[in-house]
Each structure stands twice: as structure tokens, then as C-alpha cells.
């Protein structure tokens, strides 16, 4: 099961938004007790059941690569970070609901990561600014997660959630808003858990449909899943 089924998902966001706590919660179903600064990259692995509850259920390891740092770092740090952006299958963008700047920086984070292996369609993205076309043609699934929901006062909640809904729309992605110190937000069966599961399923589908088109011989499970094109996969 180890080397063939590799799925790599990046977790990006500003310093201090709660990426390490989030990754810990997603992978170990426990709250991180002592969050500290992430130097470089910290990886964790989540065991995910693809298409859970259906006859074609299969278990995958999803690697969550939590890359630390700030989006305005020196170019030397950015080129060092770029080594982690190879062959990614999905991106989770994390922002802090109490800090508007962290949400705005998500555009730059996604540009930094997507420019690494962008299919050359002739789209010029200059100095990391937001480019609508880039996200429209993007093949890599994105998910936007807002943290520190508990620190938003009840009265301001509606305004903040509207803002984040626009943000997620810009990225053409789903969004989840939660508090990383409380596991009940991702409890099984909750809408957040469903969204998360759907995101990981999408990542796995995109990854293996690509492999399918390359026609790598000798992959035994291929025939079990893919009768034909992607459209054949809609189970009700």
C-alpha cells in the first residue's frame, strides 16, 4: 500500500493561522497541545477511506505537507520552499478568521504554489497578484479553511462568513470554518466532515485519473475502478 498510492496535499497559509494545529487535528483526531513555530516543512499522514460506505471503498494515505513561513519572505527562502511544491495533488489554504490580512495573502500563497507546476497555457502571472484565469484553468483541487472561529464574536459572525464565502468562490473551492482546538467541528457526519471527505475524494480522483491517461501498465486495481471516463463514477 505504501509507495503506489501516494497523494500529496499542501497546507499553505500565513504564520500563526493554525496550520500545524489543523494538520494535527486532521491526522490524529486530537487537539495539538503545544503549538510551536514550524521551521521548514512538517508532514503528517491521514488515513482516508475513499468512497466510504460504497462497495469500492479503498484506503489511501494522504500526506499533508505543512509548509511554514510568510508570503513576503526573501526570494532565497521562497526558492527553498519551492522544493516542496513538486507534484502536488491538492492544496488546503488556511486563513485566520480574525485577521483579514491572512485571507488576502491566500491569493499570493496559491500563486506561489501553483506557478510551480502550472500547465503552460500562456497565462502570465506577474509578481504574485490574483489572476482570474489562472484559477479558472487550475486542475488542482483547492479547499479554504478558516480557523479561530471561536474568537469571532456572535454579532460579527455573519459579516465574517460572508467575506469568506466570497473568498472561497474566488478560488472555486469549498470552505470550512472551524476552531482547531475543538474536535467537534470535524465530528463524523457533520457538514464539515462531509466537505472534507469530498475534497479528499476529489484529490484522489484527480490524481488517479491522470495516472490512468498515462496508461501505466500493471496497475492491478485500475480496471476495478475506472470503467471508462470520469463520468462513469457518479454513484448515488
Amino acid at each position: 500500500m505504501a509507495s503506489l498510492d501516494r497523494v500529496k496535499v499542501l497546507v499553505l497559509g500565513d504564520s500563526g493561522v493554525g496550520k500545524s494545529s489543523l494538520v494535527h487535528l486532521l491526522c490524529q483526531n486530537q487537539v495539538l497541545g503545544n503549538p510551536s513555530w514550524t521551521v521548514g516543512c512538517s508532514v503528517d499522514v491521514r488515513v482516508h477511506d475513499y468512497k466510504e460506505g460504497t462497495p469500492v471503498e479503498k484506503t489511501y494515505y494522504i500526506e499533508l505537507w505543512d509548509v511554514g513561513g510568510s508570503v513576503g519572505s526573501a526570494s532565497s527562502v521562497k526558492s527553498t520552499r519551492a522544493v516542496f511544491y513538486n507534484s502536488i495533488n491538492g492544496i488546503i489554504l488556511v486563513h485566520d478568521l480574525t485577521n483579514k490580512k491572512s485571507s488576502q495573502n491566500l491569493y499570493r500563497w496559491s500563486s506561489e504554489a501553483l506557478n510551480k507546476d502550472l500547465v503552460p497555457t500562456g497565462v502570465l502571472v506577474t509578481n504574485g497578484e490574483y489572476d482570474q484565469e489562472q484559477f479558472a484553468e487550475n486542475q488542482i483541487p483547492l479547499l479554504v479553511i478558516g480557523t479561530k472561529l471561536d474568537q469571532i464574536h456572535e454579532t460579527k459572525r455573519h459579516e465574517v462568513l460572508t467575506r469568506t464565502a466570497f473568498l472561497a468562490e474566488d478560488f472555486n473551492a469549498e470552505e470550512i470554518n472551524l476552531d482547531c482546538t475543538n474536535p467537534r467541528y470535524l465530528a463524523a457526519g457533520s457538514s464539515n466532515a462531509v466537505k472534507l471527505s469530498r475534497f479528499f475524494d476529489k484529490v484522489i480522483e484527480k490524481r488517479y485519473s491522470l495516472r490512468d491517461s498515462n496508461q501505466i501498465p500493471g496497475f492491478p486495481d485500475r480496471k476495478r475502478f475506472w470503467g471508462g471516463t470520469l463520468k462513469g463514477l457518479h454513484y448515488d
Binding site: A2, C27, V39, V43, V45, T80, K101, N105
Partner: protein, 392 residues
């Protein structure tokens, strides 16, 4: 009347400085953060404004601008305000924001921040004891007492920073000069980093699987946290969780390694990216060489006049030519390092297979030896000189 004009000039300049500090805070310092407590921004800008005004007053003093009595008034005013800010306002707010970050003390933060401020004042006052500060004839809360203590702290800080900067700056600059980082080095290091990440991932996969099977079997993995946790883990230990702890330790070591590798790679990237500094350093080295050629020629000329006679002049001229030639050839050797890459190859081709690094190391060693001996020599010379003057 003139006092009013002078005050309005001062106030305008203060407002300008305040605006500048405000902009700097917003654009540079708090670039990635949201300003929620405007008090902080105001205090920062005010401190900046009054500090700049002090320098401005010094310049006015030298230039003789403004009426001297109004200058005196503004000096006093400025000093009082700055001392108030530095001794009362800022320490209090520092204490307040520290206390607000701690969840436990959140309820009575005013009380605790006052306590913190009183502790600060106590130590601040105690600071005066070992230093030669004005005698207590000026009263407890006078300006002189406060300034003297602020002066001690400020001067210590400046000296610390200068000392560190004096050593650090040439150290990093020399390392950029002398290290030649190639793409191959960076790629090799990156590959090691990714390999380490892969090892971490495979171990974490095992851990995740173990945890899952344990969860399905109904066992619970308790991380040994705290004193009682450790005691419990000694007596009752499921084999699964023991295995997990072992792998966790290996993972911790690997993660530490990956952090080190990441930092090394970032360092290499930083050294490599110094393209412009190469060009600038080339210009600087060029200037140094031109001046040293000129200096060399002048020194040689003086030397020549000093020691030559009709018989030995030929020999001495030839000796000087020898020294000059060797000096210039070695300069070419050393300058190779500071040249942009595309020009370096011609020198390498022409000069052949030389161990360039050796020459740089050798240069360092002799430079160090010569610098130390010059210090020694100058020190002795300095000591000798007053004695020479003393003895009639």
C-alpha cells in the same frame, strides 16, 4: 510672537514625524497583521515623533534657528514627554499586553499590569545604585535621575548592537565573498531534504496504520504526558502504543534533521542569490585595487628615494619591480573570486589549475596575523610616544 511662530514650526515637524512613524508602522511592521489595538500604533508613532524632534532640536541648536528661549522651552518639554513615555507609558502597556495574552490572568489584567509596572520601576530604580549617577540632592523624581537611568540602558543597548554588528558584518560579507555556491550543491542538499521527508512520511504512515488498528481493536493510545502519565506508562503498556512511542522518537529525530537541512538550503540559496552584490563588490574591489596601486607606487617611490644611491639604484629598482609584479599577479588571483561568473573563466583558463581556495585561506591567515601584529605594534608605539614626550 516669535515664540508662537517657533512653536508652530515645532508642532508641524512633530506632526510630520508622527505621520511618518504611522506609515512605517502600517506598511512595514504590521504588513502581515491586522491592527486591532490602535493604542499600540499611536504610542509607536508618538515615541518616534518625539525622538526625531530631539534630533531636530540638536540641528536647530547648531544652525541657530529659532529663538533660543523657545528652543530651551521645547527642549524641556520634549525631554519631559519622552521620559514620561519611556518610563511610564510604554512599560505599562507592555505589561498590559503581556498579561492580556495569558488566559489565566485575563480577568484582572489591569491589576496585574500595574503590578508588572511596579516591578519594572523597582528594578529601574535599583539600576542607579552601582553607576556614578548624580547624588540625591535633586530629589527622587527629577529629570536628572530618570535620564541618567535611561542613559545607562540606552548606552548598553547601543554598545551591544555595535559590537555585534562590527563582528557580524565583515563575517557575513567575507563568507559571501569567499564561498562559491553552485547549483549542484543546492540540488544535492535539496535531494537530501526530500529523502528525509520521505523517511518521515513512511514512518508516519506506519504510525497512522497502527493507530487505526488499535482504535478498531478498542485500545486507546495515551501519550505519556506529565509525571503521572509517565508512571502509568511504565506499569500498563499496550504493545501497540509502545511501538508507537518508539517510532515517534525516530520521527522526532528525523524532523529535527529535516529542519536543519531546510535551514542549510535556505542559507545556500541566500548566498547564491547575491548576484548584485557580486557586481557591486567587483566595483568596490576595483576601487580598492586602483587606490592600492597608487599607494604602492607612492610608497615605492618614497622608499626608492630613501635608500637608493648611485650604486644600488639599479638593484633597488629591479627589486621594486619584482615586488610590484608579484603583488599585481596575486591581486588578479584574489580578484577572480569577486568577479561575475562569465568573466571568471578567462582567468581560470589563463592561470591554469590552481587551488584558488588555498590562496584565499592563506590571504585570511596572513591578513589576520598582520592585523593583530599591527594592533600590537601600534599599541606599543602609542605607549612609547607619551613617554618620549615626557622625558626631556
Amino acid at each position: 510672537m516669535s515664540f508662537l511662530i517657533d512653536s508652530s514650526i515645532m508642532i508641524t515637524s512633530q506632526i510630520l514625524f508622527f505621520g511618518f512613524g504611522w506609515l512605517f508602522f502600517m506598511r512595514q511592521l504590521f504588513k502581515d497583521y491586522e491592527v486591532r489595538q490602535y493604542v499600540v500604533q499611536v504610542i509607536f508613532s508618538v515615541t518616534f515623533a518625539f525622538s526625531c524632534t530631539m534630533f531636530e532640536l540638536i540641528i536647530f541648536e547648531i544652525l541657530g534657528v529659532l529663538n533660543s528661549s523657545s528652543r530651551y522651552f521645547h527642549w524641556k518639554l520634549n525631554l519631559c514627554v519622552i521620559l514620561l513615555i519611556l518610563v511610564f507609558l510604554v512599560p505599562f502597556y507592555i505589561g498590559y499586553f503581556i498579561v492580556s495574552n495569558i488566559r489565566l490572568l485575563h480577568k484582572q489584567r489591569l491589576l496585574f499590569s500595574c503590578l508588572l509596572w511596579l516591578t519594572f520601576m523597582y528594578f529601574f530604580w535599583k539600576l542607579g545604585d552601582p553607576f556614578p549617577i548624580l547624588s540625591p540632592k535633586h530629589g527622587i523624581l527629577s529629570i536628572e535621575q530618570l535620564i541618567s537611568r535611561v542613559g545607562v540602558i540606552g548606552v548598553t543597548l547601543m554598545a551591544l548592537l555595535s559590537g555585534f554588528g562590527a563582528v557580524n558584518c565583515p563575517y557575513t560579507y567575507m563568507s559571501y565573498f569567499l564561498r562559491n555556491v553552485t547549483d549542484v550543491d543546492i540540488l544535492a542538499l535539496e535531494r537530501r531534504l526530500l529523502q528525509t521527508m520521505d523517511m518521515i512520511i513512511s514512518k508516519k504512515k506506519r504510525m497512522a496504520m497502527t493507530r487505526r488498528t488499535m482504535f478498531q481493536k478498542g485500545e486507546v493510545h495515551n501519550k505519556p504526558s506529565g509525571f503521572w502519565g509517565m508512571i502509568k506508562s511504565i506499569t500498563t503498556s499496550a504493545p501497540g502504543s509502545e511501538n508507537l512511542n518508539l517510532i515517534q522518537q525516530e520521527v522526532d529525530a528525523l524532523e529535527e534533521l529535516s529542519r536543519q537541512l531546510f535551514l542549510e538550503t535556505a542559507d545556500l540559496h541566500a548566498t547564491k542569490v547575491k548576484f548584485w552584490s557580486q557586481h557591486i563588490s567587483f566595483i568596490l574591489v576595483g576601487i580598492i585595487i586602483v587606490t592600492s596601486i597608487r599607494g604602492l607606487l607612492i610608497t615605492l617611490t618614497k622608499f626608492f628615494y630613501a635608500i637608493s644611491s648611485s650604486k644600488s639604484s639599479n638593484v633597488i629598482v629591479l627589486l621594486l619591480a619584482q615586488i610590484m609584479g608579484m603583488y599585481f599577479v596575486s591581486s588578479v588571483l584574489l580578484i577572480r573570486m569577486s568577479m561575475p561568473l562569465e568573466y571568471r573563466t578567462i582567468i581560470t583558463e589563463v592561470l591554469g589549475e590552481l587551488q584558488f581556495n588555498f590562496y584565499h585561506r592563506w590571504f585570511d591567515v596572513i591578513f589576520l596575523v598582520s592585523a593583530l601584529s599591527s594592533i600590537l605594534f601600534l599599541y606599543l608605539a602609542h605607549k612609547q610616544a607619551p613617554e618620549k614626550h615626557m622625558t626631556p
